[in-house]
Amino acid sequence: MSERGWQIALTFLAFGALAALPTVIPRFYASLLAFTFTYVIAAVGVNVLTGYTGLVTVGHGGFFAVGAYTTALMARHVGTSIAPGLIAGVILSGLIGFALGMICLRLGGAFLAIATLGFALAVGAILNNWPLFEGREGIQLSKNTFFGFPVGDVGFYYVSLGVTALVMLASWSIMRSGVGRAFIAMRDSERAAEAMGINLRLYKTVAFAISAAMTGAGGVLFAHHNRYVSTETFGDTWLSVDFLTAVVVGGQASLFGSGIGAAFVALVPYYLGELRDFAYILNGVALIAVLLFAPDGIAGALARGLRWLVARRRPAAAVVDSMSVQRGAGWNR
């Protein structure tokens, strides 16, 4: 089987295993995993922009918040639940992403990172100060339903697993198309991309919009998972930093990497329990370690390790063959 064949087979296997998981694990862990999925969705969104297009964002917590508050306000004032919230949250964060992309068009590198950080800070300030969003008091969401059906912990697990799969499929499909090739081309060389007829302004803003829409979807599910949003979570920039850390530690321009990285930043604070504040230190250590020793992240390091193993086994077999041939020759003599 080709490397690509293996990738597809393993992906199906992984999602199959995740689909079967709630039958064997306690409900609590299903809920914890569903929480992790919301981070994975957000990281896949950040990966579109930072991993593939090469535009570093430290502001996607802002889009996560846009998604979360959109569905929370709709739930409170209109009485809707997950599905309408998802649609509205995705559209709204996509539009805001498009606008932010236009504003930041001429920025790159560290300047773009600072500008997006500014966006996250602005969102935090608005949430803290505009009474509509209830600041630290927060907004409570009623029991989750999905197309009218009540959804418990396990039901929500499947909803978020489905959205995760959809977002990953969308990212995969985009990245293997001409549009994805244009994103990657801009990352590798803006000048050459332009000379090939790629409209940088258009493609950068579109990358921003797609990326923001995906992260917004994560935010919507996050709100329904906690059934509560407040500036305790959304008021600062830690979410943004978490998502960027997830993409870099997991492996840029890799869907598998975004998944692993997001699971890392989502679950480490939980398993540290009382020591959860140390998670920031651990994230920082992981970030530095990855940048120093494996710039292609955990996914890249794993892929290299696997290739090395395969390459090592094959020549080893060849050596054994040649040895037996030599010995055989000796016996015949």
């Binding site: 985009i174 090739r181 244009a182 332009e194 007829g197 790629i198 579109v206």
Partner: protein, 256 residues
């Protein structure tokens, strides 16, 4: 009728006049050389045509279209393509992907492509088939799946040419195509450029200061110095033109 027409183009960098009213007319089907010593303004003019440089007074038209209001990405649709002086490939990508990006203007609907709709898939198959043809034409079939950074220099040059020609342009701009090449690579590239010109019927504009390449491939040459036209003619005429000799070798040598 000329295919590319440059009229009285001026570019100033601060107090320096990089281009001081340059006129160039490139007839269709020709390999046209733009020659001049260092600092003559060749590259500035090249960048004006490829739209990486804004010019003040003057005009540049291609087949009657004004290039002035277009950005660097806009000229691809008019059938103008280019290569870079120092190879500028999409480094992390394969040969195949590089050629495919070269066909960006043939992508069709971005939505159909992104979501792999039937029309998008058909288009993608057609693009890949065409990319294979380009690879074959440039002897790249064996390295289609390889990352371009791992390829030797000569191969990278050919990938860049294949990428530039993938969209079937009518005018190809080459910025010092043999910079950094040894004699053999220069000869090989000259042959490729001639073949491209003849067989694909692409008009070629070469910016170069290497006289041997110009003599080998160019049909007509315009020479610039200090941002002005100083001579125009066939390569042989140019090489014997007193003004050109003076510009290249300096006044005293010319008189000696």
């Amino acid at each position: 009728m000329e295919s590319l027409r440059v009229r009285g183009v001026h570019v100033n960098f601060g107090g320096l006049r990089a281009l001081d009213g340059v006129d160039v007319e490139v007839p269709p089907g020709m390999i046209f050389g733009l020659l001049g010593p260092n600092g003559a303004g060749k590259t500035t003019l090249f960048n004006c045509i490829s739209r990486f440089q804004v010019y003040g007074r003057g005009s540049i038209h291609y087949r009657g279209h004004d290039l002035g209001p277009l950005g660097p990405h806009g000229i691809a649709a008019l059938g103008i393509s280019r290569t870079f002086q120092n190879i500028n490939l999409f480094r992390t990508r394969t040969t195949m992907d590089n050629i495919l990006v070269g066909m960006h203007c043939r992508m069709g609907s971005p939505l159909a492509a992104m979501f792999a709709l039937p029309s998008g898939r058909r288009r993608e198959r057609a693009l890949r088939a065409r990319a294979m043809q380009m690879a074959e034409m440039f002897g790249l079939t064996g390295v289609l799946g390889q990352q371009v950074v791992q390829l030797p220099f000569g191969y990278q040059k050919r990938v860049e040419l294949a990428r530039a020609l993938a969209c079937e342009p009518t005018l190809l701009l080459l910025d010092e195509p043999v910079a950094g090449c040894n004699e053999e690579e220069t000869r090989e590239l000259s042959e490729i450029i001639r073949a491209v010109n003849r067989e694909l019927r692409v008009t070629v504009l070469v910016v170069e200061h290497d006289m041997s390449l110009v003599r080998a491939i160019c049909d007509e040459v315009t020479v610039l110095d200090f941002g002005r036209n100083i001579a125009h003619g066939s390569p042989v005429e140019i090489l014997n033109h007193p003004g050109v000799i003076e510009a290249y070798l300096g006044e005293t040598t010319a008189h000696a």
